[in-house]
Structure formats: C-alpha cells, structure tokens
Symmetry: C2
Subunit: 350 residues, 2 copies
C-alpha cells in the first residue's frame, strides 16, 4: 500500500519505466543503433536485465563497483566509461574481466593504457579498450584525431588489450561536432590500417535525435528509463513519462504561503541543472520548491494550498542523483501495490 510508505521515499512506476525502455529501444532498433543503457540512473540489476531483454547490447557503468554488482546479476557485456587507475582497481578489473563475456573500458591517455597493458599482458583474455574523445563537452577525452591515432597504436601494440573503437560524451546538441571529429579520426585510423570496430556516442537530452549522429554505431543513455524534470523542460519527454517520484509529507505550514516537506537536499539533491526550483510537485504546477536544507524542502505556494500531513509526489530535477541517495526504492507494480527493492549498485563509489 503506497499510503503506508514512510517518507521521504523513492517510488518507481514500473509500467512507465518499462514503456520508456521499449520506446527508446524501438527507436534505436529502427535506426540501426546499438543501445547500451547507462545503469547509473536506476542502479538496479532487474532493470538492467529488462533493458537487455528488450534488446540492449549490454550496459554502461561508471564505476567498477557498479559493474561488479551487475556482473553478479548475470549481465555479461559491460562498458566502464572511465580511466581506471591504481593497482587495487586494476586487480578488481582483472577479476571482473574473467566473470563476464565482454568487458570494455575507456582511456584517453598513455599512463592509463600503459598500466592496463602491464596488468593484462598475462591475463586469460584481453581487455577491450575504447578511446574517449572530447567532442566539445570539455570533460575527458583526446583533443584531436592525431592523439586518438597515437593511443590506438599503443593499444594495438599491447598484448593484453584489444582496440574497441572511439567513444564520446558529447555536448548537448553536439551531433555535428561528433560526426566531424569521428569522421576525421576514422579516416586517419583507416589510413594507418586500423579498423575502428565501434563509435559510441550518447546523452539523454538529445536521445530522440540519436540518428543524427550518423557516425555512431552505439548510443548510451541512462535517464530515459525514469526521465526527470530536466528532460521535461528540454522537451525530451512529458511529465507522464516520468517513472521516478519522491514521495514526501508536508510537515509544517508556518504561514499560509509556505509549506515545509520532509524531503531536502538529502532526498532531492541540490542539482538545479539550470532550472528554477528543486522539482515539480505533481498536481501543484504553480507551487515552487524554492530552497532546500538537508532534511527540509521549502515550498512557496498559494494561500493554504497544502495541509499538514498531506503526502505529495515530486518529480526531481535529476533522477540519477536521487537514486544514489536512497538504499531502497518502492516499485509501484499496480495501482495499489508496491514492492521494496534494494538499490544494490548505490553508493559504489570506487
């Protein structure tokens, strides 16, 4: 019974999540794109399995710890989009590689590749390494096709590694930039007799324009399973497509135009993502969650719009970071049924 859940709590409408999985899988299938969902959004093995069943080629993780949880659940094609550094982490990577059918990591620099090469030289099977390219997002990634070529040669010269292709996390609206970078890099690789097995792009805001990145063979996205207020504001989805809500209780109405809820930054996070306010209150389109302290949300509202004890549902600005704050989620499996599930890949910081 949803009425008896203690608040604050995450509630996930399973039917909406499954519809989201199907809709974007259909888009990718139609456009001949491999879909590789990022599990950072849900951190739940059973949703990763559902994404694979629907047609995803594998999953994307950011941390070895997340990948370990997913491997335990039987997922056998895992991409970790991170430069893995440090002896302890590489040891875990070696163990993980033996547990799954295909393990891929990214790298954008020589020291990372050199350390991976040393460790995988005597491994049972090679580690697949993709080169991360900066196509304008100004995070990780090689800055030029020449750098990509140099690293590809290094990978190909390493006994324990295979070259997996090129990967980017593009800026929003960056399809043309990605195409330009990738076309140049692929041509340079080809002129050096290096086959590029895969081009992986991604990003949630532009997911329905994924086909415009015509150089890409694979698309990575996470948020599409739940959606959130930031994607509604960017017109990527509608509020009814949002599967994750934060259930909260109004605990105080100190004035007729202010209501306080039991969900603060430790439930909704401080992520604004350029938006005004900290979430959308279902059924209260004009009420504004104007500020958060750690355990309180402060709402500006119409006169007496909320009453003490009332429970409200909030679509958060950013679903992925909210999943990371709760040990458990409540899956809404029908109109009146909920099921408690452990968010087992939550808090896997390393």
């Amino acid at each position: 019974m949803i009425d008896t859940i203690e608040t604050p709590a995450i509630v996930i409408d399973e039917a909406v999540a499954y519809a989201n999985i199907t809709a974007f899988q259909n888009y990718c299938t139609q456009h001949n794109l491999k879909l590789r969902p990022h599990i950072k959004t849900h951190k739940l093995p059973h949703f990763a399995q559902a994404q694979i069943r629907a047609g995803a080629v594998g999953i994307n993780c950011q941390k070895i710890g997340e990948a370990e949880v997913m491997a335990e659940a039987g997922i056998d094609d895992i991409l970790i989009t991170f430069n893995i550094l440090g002896d302890a982490k590489i040891r875990r990577l070696l163990t993980l590689a033996n547990r799954v059918k295909k393990l891929t990591v990214t790298a954008d620099n020589s020291p990372t590749i050199a350390a991976l090469a040393r460790s995988f030289e005597a491994a049972k099977k090679p580690l697949n390494v993709m080169i991360e390219c900066d196509t304008g997002a100004k995070r990780c990634g090689v800055q030029s096709a020449q750098e990509a070529l140099f690293l590809a040669k290094t990978i190909k010269a390493s006994a324990g590694l295979t070259f997996g292709g090129l990967l980017t996390y593009p800026p929003v609206g960056g399809a043309m930039k990605v195409n330009a970078f990738m076309a140049e890099a692929m041509a340079l690789l080809a002129s050096n007799d290096i086959l590029c097995p895969e081009i992986s792009s991604g990003g949630s805001p532009d997911m329905w324009a994924a086909k415009d990145t015509h150089t890409a063979t694979e698309y990575r996205t996470g948020t599409y399973i739940y959606n959130d207020r930031s994607l509604v504001e960017r017109k990527t989805c509608k509020y009814e497509d949002c599967a994750l809500t934060v259930l909260a209780t109004v605990v105080s109405t100190p004035t007729s135009e202010r209501a306080i809820i039991d969900a603060g930054s430790k439930a909704l996070t401080s992520d604004l993502l350029g938006l005004n306010g900290f979430g959308y209150i279902v059924g209260h389109p004009e009420a504004k969650i104007m500020s958060l302290s750690e355990e309180h949300g402060i709402i500006n509202c119409k006169t007496d719009e909320f009453s003490i004890g009332e429970r409200i549902s909030i679509i958060p600005n950013h679903a992925c970071v909210v999943s990371n704050l709760f040990d458990f989620a409540w899956l809404k499996t029908s109109e009146d049924e909920v099921k408690k599930v452990l968010i087992s890949a939550r808090g896997r910081v390393t």
Copy 2:
C-alpha cells in the same frame, strides 16, 4: 596506509576532529551554555560518544533512523528537531522513547502535537516536546509568541507529553532576533504561569558568537567537528581545522590547463553554499573545481599543475552532505595509519 585507499574516499583526521570537539566544548562550558552536537555531520556513533564524553548534554538528530542508530550505541539523551508525522514513525518513536533516558522532539503545529499526544497518552513515560520558533530563517517554526503560548498550553494539557521549552534554527547573524523573539515568548509564557525549561538555539557559522544569544540555555551545532570550506570562507575556522577531506585521483589531463578527477557530484555534492567552485584542493590554492558531473570533477588549473595518477585532498564546501554519500570513511589515526569505519547513520532517510 593512506596511499592504498581506493578513491574517491572520505578521510577524517581524528586528531583534528577531537581538537575541534574540545575547543567548542570549552567555549560552551566557559559561557555556561549546554552543547548539543548535531550528529548529521559525522553520522558516526563513536564521534557522538566522544562529544558526550567531552561534556555535551546529549545529541541532536534530524531523523528517527539516525536516533535509532545512536540509541543502539548507548546515547541516552536525544533531541529530534523535526515534526514527526505518520503512524509508522510515531510507533518507532514510542519504541525509541523506551530505549533512552530522555527523548525530545520539536513541533510547530497543532496536528503534530495532537497525534503525538494521542500516541503517548498510554506510554510508559511522557515524550518531551519543544516548540520550534521561526526567528527569521523562514523554515519551520511558529511565527509569534502567541502561537508558542497556544502550543505550550496544548502540550501541557496532554497527559503523554511534557513541555521542553522553545527551540529555533536562527538565520545567520540572527542573535538579536532570537533574543527578541525568545524574550517576548518567555514573558508571555511566564505571565501564563508556564515555566520554559530550555531555550535552544544553534547554527555553525555563528558558533563562536553563541554567547550573544544570551536567552539561550543550549546550543546546537554539527559541522564544527569536521569544519568545511564554507566555514573557512565565513572565517569560522581555518583550513587546518578541517578534519574531513575527500581523497581523489587525477584521471585525465586533456589539456594542460584542465584536469579531471574521479570525484564528482556523487562525492562532493552540488552544494555551492554561495561559494565559487566545488571545494578547496589542499596545496593547490589557485586551482578551481569549476564543475562537476556525477563521477567527474573538472579542474581549471595552471599549465601542467596536475599529473595523471596524482592523488589530491579536497576540503568540500559542505562536509555534512558529503558524509551522507559514502558508506565508509577512513579515520586517519596517525601520520601513516588509517582505519575503515562504517558511517552507520548514513542514509537513514526516515
């Protein structure tokens, strides 16, 4: 060995934390103020016990779940500064009240008090209830002395409740506002023959001016045990007083003026608290953590200031929310020794 800790990680310098506990306890003792530390900052029973041993009268929690962990560890005077609403939570409160010597909650409205009164009517011992007052922070709290009097009368008329006094979470620099509100409310209570057993104020930025809130008998503060960049910027402490750092690894240097670390918003949080950048990098005063994505921190720096594989220590903007993101912390017990501890009250959202 600190060099072998996998990053990102929380490292807490125990000697600095203990020195911070002692310093503010001494201040409170000198000024005849009871100190009630807020455990939200550390969420660690052994630090709560250390605070009590140093002279604190008890602890302050925000969630029943936090209080349950602390009661389990033998802490027996607990204040929960929250309107507790809902049958399940009140049942837990009844159980908790029987486990500790003194349990206090706050309330700022009649429905909350009425529900508590109903549930505690037949309890073995009464629940202590303080009235939360809004002295300008515009969060929870009654708006006037008259409202406080009305609620105090309600509490006193309830068999299962005792009136614990008045409490506020004041605005920064709000000592005079607190004194004005409390003086008026105490006079009104006195004229109605109601004794006010305690006046509790608090807040970290103003902690060294706690004595200026001369109406207060008790002071609540959390961050002082670790301190953080926000308190350094407000001149409440110095960088060398900061006990908690986030250990991170430089994983990429895509350009000579940009370095990427493995600590993003899931390690440092998006909390800016009005500051520029997402933390202070020890030994790199000019480098700026200019943006965070979930698992990456993006640093703007001098040419080739950082190298791949280098480990850095970051003093976060806001220590309390960082503690909440990690299952474990590393206690630095000497120059070269670290000890892994479970942050056992982390993630107690209800």
